[in-house]
């Protein structure tokens, strides 16, 4: 069965579970059903949750609230549930009723901890004590009666269920009571000659899971079930509230992307450089298991090919170049600034003091601003400019036909030229990847090297090819930048869109890895900022770098100026 997994789920529900109970769950979109009119329900297996990614039919209230309610319900199962029930000789109706009792039991226990959960769940209890007494409506009424003490029902069976459940209040911590009461209620239902339609049964209220996570079924190898099961169950950290819940606790060893893409050997195409490149291993973040895969990606540092330096192309007008050079000179000026004519300061501003005395002696009101202060300038930040050199940079801009690569080259050259007088704490690196074993990394200009003819020649020889494994490159660049002794460290990334690589088929995988890499870089004290060449890539760029740390170019031709502007703004 093909699952659509491109749908987005907000991160809120899993945050809520961590806040409430302190353990982690993995939330994924529930696969779309074949028939949109067959009601679907959330599902869980261990700490894996599948929630619908779009509102379900006939569910009241806002969709985010629904997701919170569903997630809170499943987390109550995880927190207060015990081992899965064995089906043994239970009939389908009994299974459904035992599940309802278990739902009510864990919710009651959760409400004892967090009373407001009751209000989160109550709006979905829509059952009313009227209409035909089908098994479906009776079970929905029982569900409501078990949870809602103010609800009145006239059905003897529903009331019997409620009464038995409430009388067992003292043993709510023990899930066996559900089996005991549920078994009896199921028998009663049979004696009332109410047909239980197992095929069309759907759990009510709608925020509850479909109960498959509560039971050991004899055969779990249906195609659908196998797909769900194969995701594996893995508690990510901390306490394991349901230690004996599953036998299927084997963590999934092969990541999805490898299963699908297959193991790749580094292609010969890139490896055929003259020297053997240094390989550095970096971990990679897998959002599916919410863990880092240690030493998962290899960065190969390669010497960039150099070509005779061509003059700086005229994509940047002389005006902005002059402006940048002036600003760079200001940055280079490391002399302390003397601030004069202040109301308060370290020292007397002698000319102002003289003027004040003169004014007073001549009977005029003296200007009280007679102090001065020395202000030390901030050192310019250490800057690493990281260029995405993937194949897509060969694309030409629609208006002028200049390739994006050429623009990136001009921008890097302009920045390096202008800043060469101000600081040598500037590096220009680039990357392109060919699967996780081969993330090529090029140092066109490294920290402390002069921006000389050789560096220019290397920039001119820069090529765009292959793919964008952004997260690995961010980690590698972050490591290089973090070792600099500078008060501020700035990682400027120029990229043309979202990360991608040949061995990854899940678009979100590399995106989350890059986000994680940015987060870790921030922890290293680096400020990351992204200049996006594709105005349509806003969603992914914002996700990786954070809401304020990116700028998208509507006109890629403006890259040199914009890069300079961004640098000046961030270093001011």
């Amino acid at each position: 069965m093909k699952h659509r997994i491109d749908a987005e789920l907000p991160a809120g529900p899993s945050h809520l579970v961590r806040a409430l109970w302190g353990f982690e769950v993995r939330v994924r979109p529930l696969p779309e059903g074949e028939d949109p009119f067959v009601p679907r329900r959330p599902r869980f297996a261990g700490s894996n949750l599948w929630l619908p990614s779009s509102p379900l039919l006939g569910v009241p209230g806002s969709f985010p609230d629904y997701l919170f309610a569903a997630c809170a319900h499943i987390s109550a199962h995880l927190r207060f549930g015990a081992a899965r029930f064995d089906v043994k000789s239970l009939k389908p109706a009994q299974i459904a009723i035992v599940s309802l009792l278990e739902d009510a039991r864990v919710e009651r226990l959760a409400i004892a901890h967090y009373p407001g959960l009751e209000r989160l769940w109550a709006p979905y209890q829509l059952a009313r004590a009227d209409g035909a007494k089908t098994s479906l409506s009776l079970l929905a009424r029982l569900a409501r009666a078990l949870s809602d003490d103010a609800y009145l029902d006239d059905d003897a069976w529903v009331n019997k269920g409620r009464q038995s459940f409430l009388e067992a209040r003292a043993t709510w911590h023990d899930s066996d009571l559900c089996r005991r009461i549920g078994g009896a209620l199921g028998n009663d239902l049979g004696q009332m000659r109410v047909q239980f339609d197992a095929k069309n049964y759907v759990v009510e209220p709608a925020y509850r899971d479909d109960n498959t996570g509560l039971w050991h079924f004899e055969q779990e190898s249906t195609e659908d079930g196998a797909e769900f099961e194969s995701e594996g169950v893995r508690r990510v950290e901390g306490e394991a509230p349901t230690p004996k819940r599953r036998e299927h606790q084997e963590p999934q060893v092969t990541p999805a992307l490898e299963r699908k893409g297959g193991e790749r050997q580094p292609a010969l195409r890139l490896a055929a450089t003259s020297e053997v490149p240094r390989a550095t291993q970096h971990p990679e973040w897998d959002y599916v298991i919410q863990r880092e895969r240690p030493a998962f990606c290899s960065v190969l540092e390669r010497s960039p090919a150099s070509t005779d330096a061509a003059p700086l192309s005229s994509t940047c007008d002389a005006h902005s170049q002059r402006r940048l050079e002036r600003a760079a000179k200001r940055l280079a000026d490391r002399h302390p600034a003397r601030l004069r004519r202040l109301l308060d300061g370290d020292r007397v501003d002698v000319p102002a003091a003289v003027a004040a005395v003169v004014a007073r002696n001549s009977g005029a009101p003296p200007d009280p601003r007679v102090y001065g202060r020395v202000r030390f300038r901030l050192e310019p930040p250490a800057l690493l400019l990281l260029l995405d050199l993937s194949e897509s940079l060969n694309a030409a801009t629609p208006s002028t036909g200049t390739s994006l690569l050429q623009l990136a080259r001009s921008a890097a050259t302009l920045l390096a030229t202008s800043l060469s007088t101000a600081t040598s704490d500037l590096a220009i690196h680039g990357f392109s990847s060919n699967g996780r074993h081969e993330v090529g990394y090029y140092r066109f200009k490294d920290f402390d090297d002069p921006f000389d003819e050789q560096a220019r020649a290397r920039l001119t020889g820069m090529r765009a090819q292959l793919s964008t494994r952004l997260g690995t490159a961010l980690r590698h660049a972050g490591r290089a930048l973090a070792t600099r002794q500078a008060p501020r460290k700035l990682l400027l990334v120029v990229t043309d869109g979202e990360p991608s690589d040949i061995d990854v088929h899940d678009a979100k995988y590399l995106l989350f890895d890059a986000k994680q890499a940015t987060y870790l870089n921030r922890r290293l004290g680096l400020l990351s900022f992204c200049l996006g060449l594709d105005a349509n890539a806003e969603a992914s760029v914002a996700r990786i770098f954070g809401a304020r740390n990116y700028s998208l170019l509507d006109e890629p031709e403006k890259l040199p100026e914009r890069l300079a502007e961004v640098y000046l703004r961030l270093s001011a």
Binding site: P10, A11, G12, P13, H15, L16, R18, A19, L20, G22, P64, D65, F68, A72, H113, Y114, P115, G116, L117, R119, L120, G345, D346, R347, V348, A353, A356, V357, R360, V370, Y371, R373, V374, R375, F376, P487, R488, R523, L524, G525, A547
Partner: protein
């Protein structure tokens, strides 16, 4: 006792402080030994309140300096002022405290430029001297003088840290958020909330603290809980007060805001 100039800095009324462990006796021992003290801990866990309480307990005036990057050595030591045609020396807070025997408290000390802080070095070892070159004076610290600094190691620790030569002059007391029972007591004392409501607010804070490192840089502090309690006492609805005092100041991430708002609803 007549430390005339600093009478305004004396704390008259006992500031409420609920001891978390043995920090009061440790501080008193440090004071007896005249060992400068560093208070470490997350924001809003009671470091400043603790210093106020200790100043009251030891009956010393308290001079507090909120450190910032623009602060210069003369902001700490003092400077000449012009006054009616003549100059007059004005002691800075450190000089004033050293001269008259007060407790000088440098709050968020990592925010200051690290070269600026070097001026306090001679005060913090056994010399207990302060040299004021502008005044050609070497000030021998008053026997009752004590220097206290605070910083938050979790916050921007990679960017800003104290020089080891500064750090090693201090004895340090580590603070953390109070235990559940103590935090409830503190909240009740500070805001007069009913006990069950205080318990729920503390549950909420515990939930938010579990998200630290999972999107939040810092968890809900005791101070934020007190803010929420004060809003509630002032007539604001409980949920609105929690949103205003606990959730919105903590994060701008919409997913986290919605998760925290739901956690607030779950706790109430």
């Amino acid at each position: 006792m007549s430390e005339g100039p600093l009478d305004a800095f004396r704390i008259q009324k006992e500031p409420y402080y609920q001891a978390l462990a043995d920090e009061i006796s440790l501080f008193e021992a440090a004071y007896t030994a005249r060992l400068p003290v560093m208070l470490k801990g997350p924001t809003g866990c009671g470091k400043t309140r603790f210093v106020e309480h200790m100043a009251w307990r030891l009956r010393r005036p308290l001079l507090t300096v909120a450190c910032n990057e623009e602060m210069s050595a003369s902001d700490l030591l003092g400077r000449y002022l012009l006054e009616s045609g003549a100059t007059r020396w004005q002691d800075g807070p450190v000089t004033m405290a050293a001269r008259h025997g007060a407790i000088c408290y440098l709050d968020e000390v990592v925010e200051a430029r690290q070269d600026t802080l070097v001026v306090i070095h001679p005060l913090t070892d056994d010399r207990r001297l302060l040299s004021l070159p502008a005044r050609s004076e070497v000030l021998r610290a008053h026997p009752e003088f004590l220097l206290v600094v605070s910083h938050n190691p979790g916050y921007q620790s990679a960017l800003k840290d104290l020089k080891p030569s500064t750090k090693q002059r201090f004895g340090a007391i580590a603070f953390d958020y109070p235990s559940r029972a103590l935090e409830i007591e503190i909240l009740i004392h500070e805001t007069e909330l009913p006990r069950d409501l205080a318990e729920r607010l503390v549950s909420m804070a515990e939930g938010a603290r579990r998200l630290k490192g999972h999107g939040l840089d810092e968890g809900v502090s005791t101070r934020m809980l007190v803010h929420a309690g004060e809003l509630i006492r002032g007539g604001v609805g409980v949920e609105a007060a929690c949103r205003m005092a606990l959730v919105q100041p903590l994060t701008d991430d919409p997913d986290l805001v919605s998760a925290l708002n739901t956690a607030v609803r779950a706790c109430l």
